[in-house]
C-alpha cells in the first residue's frame, strides 16, 4: 500500500490569547499561576530572614529594619495577599479535583470568592497582627 501523500499546507494556528474577552474564571486561573510564580521568588525573602537570624544580631537587625520599613511592610503586605490568593486558588482546585463546582454559577462564584476571600483574609491578618502588638 502506498503511503498517503498529503499536500503541504500551513498549519492552522489557534487564535491568540489577546482576542478573547477576559472572564472571571480566566483571570483567576492566570492569577493562580502568577501568584505561584511570585511566591517562588518570594521564598528567597524567607531564606534572607532565616539566614540572618542564624548569622547573629548585626545581620538580623539590618533585615528586621528593612522589613519594618515602609517598603519592607509593603512587600510583606503584598506577600500576604499573594499567599492567601494562591492558597484559596489551590483550595478551588481541590474542589474541582473532587468533582464539584463546574457548573456556570458555581464556577463564577468560586472565582469571585477567591478574590474577595483573599482580600478579606489579608486585611483580617494584618488587622489582628497590628492590634495584638
Amino acid at each position: 500500500m502506498n503511503p498517503t501523500v498529503r499536500p503541504t499546507v500551513a498549519q492552522p494556528l489557534s487564535p491568540h490569547l489577546q482576542i478573547y474577552r477576559w472572564t472571571w474564571t480566566m483571570a483567576m486561573s492566570v492569577f493562580h499561576r502568577i501568584t505561584g510564580t511570585a511566591l517562588y521568588g518570594g521564598t528567597f525573602l524567607v531564606v534572607v530572614w532565616l539566614v540572618a537570624l542564624a548569622s547573629g544580631p548585626r545581620a538580623y537587625d539590618t533585615v528586621a529594619w528593612f522589613f519594618g520599613s515602609l517598603i519592607g511592610r509593603a512587600i510583606l503586605f503584598a506577600y500576604t495577599w499573594v499567599l492567601m490568593h494562591h492558597m484559596l486558588g489551590g483550595i478551588r482546585h481541590f474542589i474541582w479535583d473532587a468533582g464539584y463546582g463546574f457548573d456556570r454559577d458555581r464556577r463564577l462564584g468560586l472565582a469571585r470568592a477567591t478574590l474577595i476571600g483573599s482580600i478579606t483574609l489579608t486585611v483580617v491578618i494584618w488587622a489582628i497582627a497590628l492590634l495584638v502588638r
Partner: protein, 139 residues
C-alpha cells in the same frame, strides 16, 4: 497492512527498549507529579497559615527574643515542615510553568536544572538556619 514506525527518533530517545516494548508511555507514574502537587498544596495551606502567625509574632522583637521564638521546638518543627513542603511544591509548580512556556530543548533543560538547584538551595539554607538557631548558643 503496512506498519508505520511512529516511534520517536530512537537514536535520540532516552526511553529504554523495554519501556518502548511495553508501550505504556508515562502511564503509571504520570499522576505522581499531579498528586504530589495536591498533597504539598494541602500541607502548604496548613503550614503557611502557621507561618503567617509566626511571622506576625516576630514583628518588633529584639534579637534574643526572635531567637527564643524560632528555637521553640514547636516553632522549629513547623518551620522545618513548611520549608520541606513548600520547596517540593514550588519546584513541581515551576516545572509545570517551564514545560508550558519554554519550548527550546536546550533552554528547557537548563531551566529545569536551575529550578531544581534553586529549590534545593532554598531548602538547604532554610533548614541549616532553623537548625542552627534552634540548637542554641546564639543569644
Amino acid at each position: 497492512m503496512s506498519q508505520v514506525d511512529n516511534r520517536q527518533n530512537t537514536a535520540l530517545s532516552m526511553r529504554t527498549p523495554r519501556a518502548r516494548v511495553k508501550g505504556l508511555g508515562a502511564s503509571g507514574h504520570g499522576a505522581g507529579h499531579f498528586w504530589l502537587q495536591r498533597l504539598t498544596g494541602a500541607s502548604n495551606a496548613l503550614l503557611m497559615l502557621a507561618f503567617v502567625v509566626i511571622i506576625a509574632l516576630m514583628a518588633g522583637r529584639t534579637y534574643p527574643q526572635a531567637v527564643a521564638l524560632v528555637s521553640h521546638p514547636l516553632v522549629s518543627i513547623i518551620l522545618i515542615l513548611a520549608v520541606v513542603s513548600v520547596t517540593i511544591h514550588m519546584r513541581l509548580g515551576m516545572q509545570t510553568v517551564i514545560e508550558d512556556y519554554v519550548h527550546s530543548h536546550g533552554l528547557k533543560f537548563a531551566a529545569l536544572i536551575a529550578n531544581t538547584f534553586y529549590a534545593v538551595a532554598v531548602a538547604a539554607a532554610c533548614l541549616y538556619a532553623i537548625i542552627r538557631v534552634s540548637l542554641g548558643g546564639l543569644a
